[in-house]
Amino acid sequence: MQPPSTPHFRLGAFAVIAGVLCGATAAFAYTAGWLSPGRLSREKVVGALSPPGGPAPGHRRNHVKGICFTGTFEANGAGAALSRARLLAAGAYPVIGRLNLGTAAISEPDAKARVRGLSLQILGPDGSEWRTGMITPPFFPVSTPEAFYALLQASASKEPGAMPAFAAAHPEIAAFGAWAGSAPWTGSYAEERYNGINAFVFTDAGGSDHVVRWSMRPAAQPVPVPPDHLATRAPDFLNQEIRTRLAAGPVRWTMALTVAEPGDPVDDPSKAWPEGRRTIDVGTLTIQALQEEADGPCRDVNYDPTVLPDGIRTSADPFPAARSSAYALSYRRRAAEAGSYPHTAPGARP
């Protein structure tokens, strides 16, 4: 043991201690982003999704309207050419899914949602799992999560020049505008093609990687309906329609994988890959039963696109990471508000 310290030395010692503690606290605050108001946080992005009256408590912060279903994904085995994932080996796997609308406003009538969505949780016998959320446009409006945040801000802005300025800075949005203006509307979730849009890396049994995007192609023939006709239908006509349709016969989609070639824009979901890329049909999704979301099995699922089976992983596409982070916050918030979105079925938990 050293001799007791002198008062002079003691002052220096306290200064050292204070310096170490302040330094550690500052490093912690910096890492947490508290000193970097410019960092694009999930709070900012999820906040920017909020509709004018605020989000519906207990509900998803985007794609807020939806209906649950249970079904099966029957893989035909052809996907094994691209990935060793158990869920692509021939077999039938249970699915918990959700048909939904790309809007954050719960009061918006179905007829107004330009973008529709299909979310899947496919469950493998080995405990592996594949979650995906797909949408009807063939590409995303913007190239990066930062641009998506800027788009949300511009479209919420009351400044007349905000959207033109955004479009000038992000010319990729023009393709989405063209799609939104020209693609036919339909009167059914079942008649839509849903696109995964983001690219993922598939690893085959030999260890080779392939960059892939996937889509669900409807078995039902799309029947175009003018939007002003849809506007005369009930605000939740899509839910009613899919129930009637399922009662009359099966509702199915084919899952198709599209493989990138060298040089394709794998990190930019606003750019479609050129026509003629190798495409493989890997299986069929069949809906077996529908459930109201309030009591349905999809309600408490986080369709985080980074929940992937072994044999599929994220790629250079920056969106899955951004979505995973934002969906975690959305999930945390809606979980904390679960009491505001009560179960309704008799005997269900309140």
Binding site: M1, S5, A32, G127, N302, T306, A322, A338
Partner: protein
């Protein structure tokens, strides 16, 4: 003179865990602050490292129960002794609680607990949204409490090392005993 020290294995586990836990706290607050690609990288370190801390905490508790700890100096004022014992209890509690909460909250979310490709832990709770909300809140708030207690602990250790110079720091110092003579 010789000081009573923790055993070499106890000291090794202490300093390895100190590094891991500090790293975990920084990784944790860093990952929830971003939507960049770093988010996934950090999460993929957070889960296996957190479970590794749980395993180390078990080993550490066994060592502590079997080998004990050197006594605090007799001249240390009673309130300080109490503070030392209480803060050590809290630190042990959090070493177990944080990883268990992380594992439990993902279970309650119905989210797969994957440590790395092919290694998935079973859920330790059934899926339950209300329970998730509670556990997720606890994991977040206790993390900040953990950092605060670690700062106190660090401040106290330096106080023993630099001001009191009473051998308490040397008992756990990451140096061989011969280096202290």
């Amino acid at each position: 003179m010789t000081v009573a020290r923790f055993s070499p294995l106890q000291r090794l586990v202490h300093w390895v865990m100190a590094a891991c836990i500090l790293a975990m706290l920084f990784i944790g607050v860093g990952m929830v602050s971003t939507i960049s690609a770093r988010y996934l990288t950090l999460v993929s370190i957070h889960k296996p490292l957190g479970i590794a801390i749980l395993v180390l905490a078990l080993l550490r508790l066994v060592l502590r129960l079997r080998r004990g700890a050197p006594p605090l100096p007799a001249d240390l004022p009673e309130p300080m002794k109490l503070a030392a014992h209480l803060s050590h209890l809290v630190l042990y509690g959090l070493m177990f609680a944080m990883p268990l909460l992380g594992w439990a909250m993902l279970s309650a979310e119905g989210y797969p607990v994957v440590l790395f490709d092919g290694l998935r832990l079973p859920p330790i709770l059934p899926q339950n949204l209300e329970l998730y909300a509670l556990l997720r809140g606890a994991h977040g708030y206790l993390a900040y409490a953990f950092f605060a207690v670690i700062l106190l602990h660090l401040g106290a250790a330096l106080f023993h090392a630099l001001v009191r110079r009473d051998g308490v720091f040397e008992a756990m110092a990451p140096v061989p005993t011969r280096a202290l003579d």
